[in-house]
């Protein structure tokens, strides 16, 4: 990565805006985001505002009526959940044309195509399970309604508790039935033509930027087919049921497949023009900016801010200083990338921080590798420990959300305990995810102003601007723009048009592809020996383990103080 950076020229030239990679990442990223906004705002669910008003009316009445979340309260929330712009015809088409390979269990071909008979067999098998789950959910609903009716005017504590237990049981059964319904909807498919179409589209999309930068466009497009093919295989490996469960995703496979090719048969020379790690990462990060909505940080009130936005920077800075002073990390960029990856949210934080401080590609690989290994371990050990010691699920959820790196693993660990633990863990993690924007910006400024200069040198504001990685501006601008739109729409409309529209229906999809292409490129350009050199003395491992230990202690302490000592009323509501 570091070899390909835009060098500091000490002066500003307007031509940078159409000649440099950072700016092309901004233009391309914004073109995609604005296209997504246009599509989904014009494909809003029918009667959106009326349906939201109706559901909110019920919610207001139920919250005033009962001291717990009633059946009608949950049904009103369920009604709002269904309002998604991604369910429109346009949304479904975008999903179809851009979808990564399908999930599969034992036959890798199922990732790409499935015949009618196979789909029917799966459907038949799943239908029986769905019908059983649906019957259980219906029975649980009746029991919940009866228990709620028995509670009468809600003055009897015992009857209230019985109603809450019955409603919780219904929600769990309802959740299982919903998931079973999805599996019962198996249909035949052939994803190959769409993948070819997507490859051509992305080759042209990135090719426009290559042309603008004066790089060999045709050679890029020819090589791109190979990089895209490896990205497809990486996604296919990540969609394997076992790999999904073990937490080994496309990033790990992309790096591994790239490494295997480059270190065995060698990366073909004609592929090298398309090995554009920085270009893919920067464009992906600009798009990621749209997913960083500042309104999310208040999702669980003040306790969430303390657990995610106070503890995380403390751990990040402490780990970085510890790495410099005690562990004596040989590289500052490796130190900050591991510190951010461990304290914020794993792979995505590592990508953003590495790009902001211009870390080497091997350093990013190492940080991602460490995160993936420890995420899998923590996903299994933490919920088991919480269960064994009988820790309250709100506390356990906050603890896991603040410490387990990857979001998917947080969801799995939370769901293993209970829905309550899942909701708290996921919300804390989501708030922490938003911190990426601030961290990347702060690291970029710090590196320009302090690290990348002669000791004792005072850097002017203009000099910082010359050195600043410009794509970070696009990243922050996307985050601010989408946060403002999100706030102006209000939470319910934003859920339908932004969360389940421009973000999950556009940004998330393409950002995933771009990061995967970047990881493939990293692998294709990396030598095992270079990687080994960065791991010398096991210092990265020592840094990660020490930092994570501190993170575990501080997060647990803060979660306990906030959720049980300072704001117990918020905990009671959850």
């Amino acid at each position: 990565m570091a070899e390909e950076i835009v060098k500091n020229v000490g002066k500003w030239e307007w031509s940078e805006m159409w000649k440099k990679e950072d700016w092309w990442a901004i233009w391309l990223g914004f073109a995609m985001l604005l296209f997504g906004l246009f599509i989904y705002i014009n494909n809003a669910p029918a009667d959106l505002h009326q349906k939201i008003a109706k559901a909110n009316g019920i919610l207001a009445a139920e919250s005033a009526r009962a001291p717990f979340k009633t059946v009608a309260w949950h049904k009103a929330v369920d009604a709002k959940k269904k309002l998604k712009a991604t369910s429109s015809e346009a949304g479904k088409k975008i999903a179809l044309y851009t979808k990564e390979p399908h999930g599969w269990k034992s036959n890798p071909l199922d990732a790409f195509m499935m015949g009618k008979s196979d789909a029917e067999a799966i459907k038949e098998k799943a239908l029986a399970k769905y019908e059983a789950a649906e019957a259980k959910a219906a029975a649980a609903l009746e029991a919940a309604k009866s228990a709620e009716a028995a509670a009468g005017d809600f003055t009897n504590e015992t009857l209230n508790t019985a109603a809450v237990t019955a409603i919780d049981a219904w929600r769990a059964a309802h959740e299982k039935a919903s998931k079973a319904k999805k599996k019962a909807g198996a249909k035949p498919y052939n994803q190959i033509p769409y993948l070819i179409g997507l490859c051509i589209f992305l080759a042209i999309f990135f090719g426009i930027g290559m042309k603008g930068m004066g790089k060999p466009t045709i050679k890029f497009m020819v090589g791109f087919g190979f990089v895209f093919l490896i990205a497809v295989l990486s996604f296919a490996a990540g969609t394997n049921a076992t790999m999904k469960s073990l937490g080994i995703g496309y990033a790990a496979w992309a790096i591994l497949f790239g490494l295997i090719i480059s270190n065995t048969v060698g990366t073909p020379k004609w592929v090298m023009p398309a090995v554009q790690t920085e270009y893919y990462i920067k464009t992906g990060l600009v798009i990621l900016g749209a997913e960083i909505l500042f309104g999310k940080i208040l999702s669980i009130g003040v306790p969430g801010i303390f657990v995610a936005w106070v503890v995380t920077p403390i751990v990040l800075i402490s780990t970085y200083i510890f790495g410099q002073k005690i562990v004596k990390m040989p590289s500052k960029t490796l130190n900050i990338t591991i510190s951010a990856d461990m304290s914020v949210c794993g792979v995505s934080a590592a990508i953003a921080t590495a790009a902001a401080c211009r870390a080497k590609k091997e350093e990013l690989t190492l940080a991602v590798g460490l995160s993936l290994v420890f995420t899998s371990i923590m996903m299994i050990l933490m919920p088991a420990f919480i269960k064994a010691v009988g820790m309250p699920h709100v506390l356990g959820g906050a603890w896991m959300g603040g410490t387990i790196d990857a979001t998917g693993a947080v969801a799995a660990a939370g769901a293993f305990l209970s829905d309550k633990a899942l909701y708290v863990a996921a919300t804390v993690k989501m708030i922490q995810n938003v911190l990426i924007g601030v961290i990347a910006f702060a690291v970029a400024v710090y590196w320009c102003a302090k690290v990348d200069c002669v000791p004792g040198e005072k850097v002017s504001k203009m000099e910082i601007w010359y050195r600043f990685p410009k794509f970070v501006i696009g990243f922050m601008a996307a985050s601010i723009l989408f946060s403002l739109i999100d706030q102006s729409m209000g939470k319910d409309v934003s859920y339908a048009l932004m969360d389940h529209g421009a973000i999950r229906g556009m940004s998330k999809i393409f950002r995933g592809w771009f990061f995967c292409l970047a990881f493939v490129s990293i692998g294709l350009a990396t030598n095992f020996r270079e990687l080994k050199h960065h791991f010398a003395g096991g210092k990265p491992l020592i840094l990660y383990v020490c930092g994570q230990t501190f993170n575990l202690i501080l997060t647990l302490l803060m979660a306990y103080i906030m959720f049980y000592l300072v704001f117990p009323e918020i905990t009671a509501r959850i």
Partner: protein, 95 residues
């Protein structure tokens, strides 16, 4: 004689190159086999171990993408977000 000498110097080079290609291909094949072994035998066996089985069952039943990296990629985060938003906006009244 001259032609024979040229042939003798080229031959070892060709065989060295071939050996190198074979070595590289063998390395690629070994890696593919190792991945297949992990994906189809070691991974599923790990899933069945008593330590991992309970959480693996939950992941499978709920269809959780445990290998995703950002909150927008995991459906459970959307569920959690909307539930938490409504819990904060419409909390149950005090008993």
């Amino acid at each position: 004689m001259k032609r024979c000498g040229v042939a003798m110097t080229i031959m070892p080079r060709i065989s060295e190159k071939t050996a190198d290609v074979v070595k590289r291909l063998a390395g690629l094949l070994a890696c593919i086999l190792a991945i297949a072994l992990f994906m189809f035998y070691i991974g599923p066996a790990l899933e069945q171990t008593p330590a991992l089985k309970p959480i693996m069952q939950v992941i499978d039943e709920r269809g959780i993408n445990a290998n995703m990296y950002f909150y927008t990629e995991v459906e459970e985060f959307s569920e959690a977000n909307i539930n938490m938003n409504n819990t904060m906006a419409y909390p149950p009244r005090s008993p």
